[in-house]
């Protein structure tokens, strides 16, 4: 279907082709980018603030994904949503149907809609934050928002990746604009240094990943992800996965390289060096974006890639699944431990949050490793778990990951937003300078407390439930392979470690007096920043107290993905 035909359809108000229907929100975002550039070109940004254009575009896209989400969740019969469904032209044959679109390059299912919803929500919240915190200013707003939205489109592509080409494209689309965003404060020495490090590591990782992709695609003779698993057995022709087999070695090398590229995006040890530097050098808002959205996109890719590889019931390939699962488990355990230990000595708040991001990537990766282990288990060989039980456990792992990401969106965004808002008041991001802030900006500090305690994983906050789900899936994966119990133990000890450094921030805020002569930070409750942080922190609390609906939804998403 050519572009002309599509435009014809749209102008005549006819039902849009399925691919365009599903891709609607992304198209809206692309149009927003164009609008932003035009606003600048025709010099109307003095009358029409660019951040409002961006916010509007993001909201429209969010509504689009939201209506898709409700449509796939509850069907076409929700009275309250009818108007929205019609506005986006949703039809049972289009959005209502799960399956690949755009000639199989992308796939439409609950998993991708769930992630896209989260990303769009995050984009809206992010733009709202930049409106409040004043980065960027009106002169370079359109550049910033173009990069931000462009990167988000890349992440949304990542959620639906169904082909190794889209996988690579998505990684590049989310990375390249984020390099520029880190360097956005052009005159700051730190920002340019952070960006240089980020771009060099990032480009290297992308290159290695591409080489890995070429090996995987070449050895297996296909680049379409759903076919990978079947091709693995064909490629081995009944042989088992051992390292004396040259095909196996090449494939393992390729997979390893692809995982290295994804590990870079996830800032897993040993590919984490860029993360603290980039976060410290960039503005806090950009840090929040990198630590939440880019993690979510990369996890979506990782899950898709792992599921594509391990969907094979052939028992002779159990070695591949097991070594992949254990490898991920080791990486997860090392990453979480390293992140927590390194965060301990940090003085800069953004740097501390960067290490905390690394640690949390480790926790989330644990869920993926448990998923791989459980999916690779011999259906008849695990005592106490039937085949159906194994499926339920696999769903639980994915549910844990999705829940964690959802909570993480709010709690980490909250923490970064508060850092940005405090920076606007006291012009500092050093923990030392936070002393006694609780007396002056109680709302910010209490919300920071909620976010940080949720990051530790204390009840009754959302982070606790998320962590519990991860622990539960590790526990069950331990029945398949004992190593997961070791990972569980490490995760438990890490939770205690992590308390140290989060508490240091809170101690500084609450337990000490404000030094005489320090800049005051008066942020009352009834102000836009105050309301914003409350709005972001309340879901953290709600997701902890009322965990039922979201965990149910996540479980559903997992059920359809793993079917």
């Amino acid at each position: 279907m050519s572009v002309n035909e599509i435009i014809e359809h749209a102008l005549k108000g006819e039902i849009l082709p399925r691919s365009v229907q599903i891709f609607g929100p992304e198209i809206a975002l692309c149009l927003t980018i164009l609008a932003l550039l035009f606003v600048r070109m025709f010099e109307i940004h003095r009358r029409l603030p660019t951040n409002l254009v961006a916010l509007l575009g993001a909201l429209i896209a969010f509504l689009g994904v939201f209506s898709q989400f409700m449509y796939v969740k509850g069907g076409s019969e929700i009275p309250a949503m009818m108007a929205l469904f019609q506005a986006w032209g949703l039809t049972p044959e289009g959005v209502g149907e799960v399956g690949p679109y755009f000639t199989g390059l992308l796939v439409h299912d609950q998993f991708s809609v769930f992630f896209r919803l989260g990303l769009c929500l995050f984009l809206v919240l992010m733009i709202a934050l930049t409106v409040l915190s004043g980065i960027p200013d009106s002169e370079d707003g359109q550049d910033f928002y173009t990069l931000l939205i462009g990167s988000s489109v890349g992440m949304m592509l990542a959620c639906g990746a169904n082909h190794l080409l889209t996988l690579f494209l998505a990684v590049e689309m989310m990375s390249v604009p984020s390099y520029a965003m880190v360097a956005f404060q052009k005159g700051r020495r730190q920002a340019s240094e952070a960006a240089l490090k980020y771009v060099i590591y990032g480009a290297g990782a992308a290159g290695v990943m591409l080489y890995g992709l070429s090996l995987v695609a070449g050895v297996l003779g296909t680049a379409s992800m759903p076919e990978l698993a079947a091709q693995v057995s064909t490629a081995f022709a009944g042989g088992s996965f051992v390292l004396t087999n040259p095909v196996a070695v090449t494939l393992a090398l390729g997979i390893l390289m692809v995982l290295a590229g994804l590990a870079f995006k996830l800032s897993l040890v040993p590919f984490h060096f860029w993360c603290p530097d980039a976060f410290e050098g960039a503005a806090a808002e950009v840090g929040g974006f990198l630590s939440v959205a880019s993690k979510a996109g990369a996890f979506a890719l990782l899950v898709r890639f792992c599921i594509a590889l391990t969907g094979n019931p052939d028992p002779s390939l159990a070695g591949l699944n097991l070594s992949l699962g254990i490898g991920l488990g080791v990486a997860a355990a090392v990453t979480a431990t390293f992140g927590n230990l390194a965060a301990y000595s940090q003085k800069n708040m953004k740097r501390l949050l960067a290490y905390s991001t690394i640690a949390h990537a480790g926790y989330m990766l644990m869920a993926v490793s448990a998923l791989v282990i459980i999916r690779g288990a011999n259906p008849s060989g695990v005592p106490g778990l039937t085949s159906a039980g194994l499926d339920a456990e696999a769903r639980r792992c994915l549910e844990a990951l999705l829940y964690y990401l959802a909570v993480y969106l709010f709690m980490n965004l909250g923490a970064f937003a508060i850092v940005a808002l405090i920076r606007n008041q006291i012009f500092s991001e050093e923990i030392e300078d936070y002393r006694g802030l609780a007396g002056e900006a109680p709302v910010l500090c209490v919300c920071m407390l909620i976010c940080l305690f949720s990051l530790v994983g204390l009840p009754p906050l959302g982070g606790f439930w998320a962590k519990l789900e991860i622990f539960a899936s590790l526990f069950q994966a331990g029945r398949v392979h004992w190593f997961m119990w070791v990972v569980l133990g490490i995760a438990a000890v890490n939770t205690v470690f992590s308390l140290f450094y989060y508490m240091r921030v809170l101690k500084s805020m609450f337990l000490t007096e404000r030094p005489v002569g320090a800049r005051s930070a008066l942020v009352p409750f009834r102000s836009a920043p105050g309301l914003y942080v409350v709005m972001v922190s309340v879901p953290v609390l709600l997701l902890g107290v009322l965990a039922g609906p979201l965990s149910q939804t996540a479980n559903n998403v997992a059920r359809i993905l793993l079917r």
């Binding site: 190794l164 080409l165 690579f168 494209l169 590049e172 390249v176 390099y179 520029a180 360097a183 052009k186 005159g187 700051r188 020495r189 730190q190 340019s192 240094e193 952070a194 960006a195 240089l196 490090k197 771009v199 060099i200 480009a203 290297g204 992308a206 290159g207 290695v208 591409l210 080489y211 992709l213 070429s214 090996l215 695609a217 070449g218 003779g221 296909t222 680049a223 379409s224 603290p276 530097d277 410290e280 050098g281 390194a342 000595s345 940090q346 740097r351």
Partner: protein, 98 residues
């Protein structure tokens, strides 16, 4: 096919070595280009002699475009770094430390 793959592997190794040893930011980026092109040769070879079919060729076309975009951004950032630091020696980028 093996000859093509060997060339690609050599390019890849050269590129990785270049990334690992060069201290000049531009040099590192050149290493990245070598790696990308190594992968491209792989794709084209697999597409011609393997089972990958046209997918491989399209893959490499996309990669060429992406490599250009990435290089543009990377060079802009390197230039910005030069403006601020008057060097593009990556070892000089050490202000951000624990």
């Amino acid at each position: 096919m093996n000859a093509y793959l060997a060339v690609a592997a050599v390019l890849f190794v050269c590129g990785v070595m270049c990334m690992a040893t060069k201290r000049n930011g531009i040099g590192v980026l050149m290493g990245v280009e070598l790696v990308l092109n190594g992968a491209n040769i792989n794709f084209v070879a697999f597409s011609k002699y393997g089972l990958l079919g046209l997918d491989g060729q399209i893959f490499s076309l996309f990669v060429i475009v992406l490599a250009a975009a990435e290089a543009a951004v990377a060079l802009a950032i390197a230039l910005n770094f030069y403006n601020n630091h008057l060097t593009i020696d990556v070892d000089q980028a050490s202000e951000l430390k624990n």
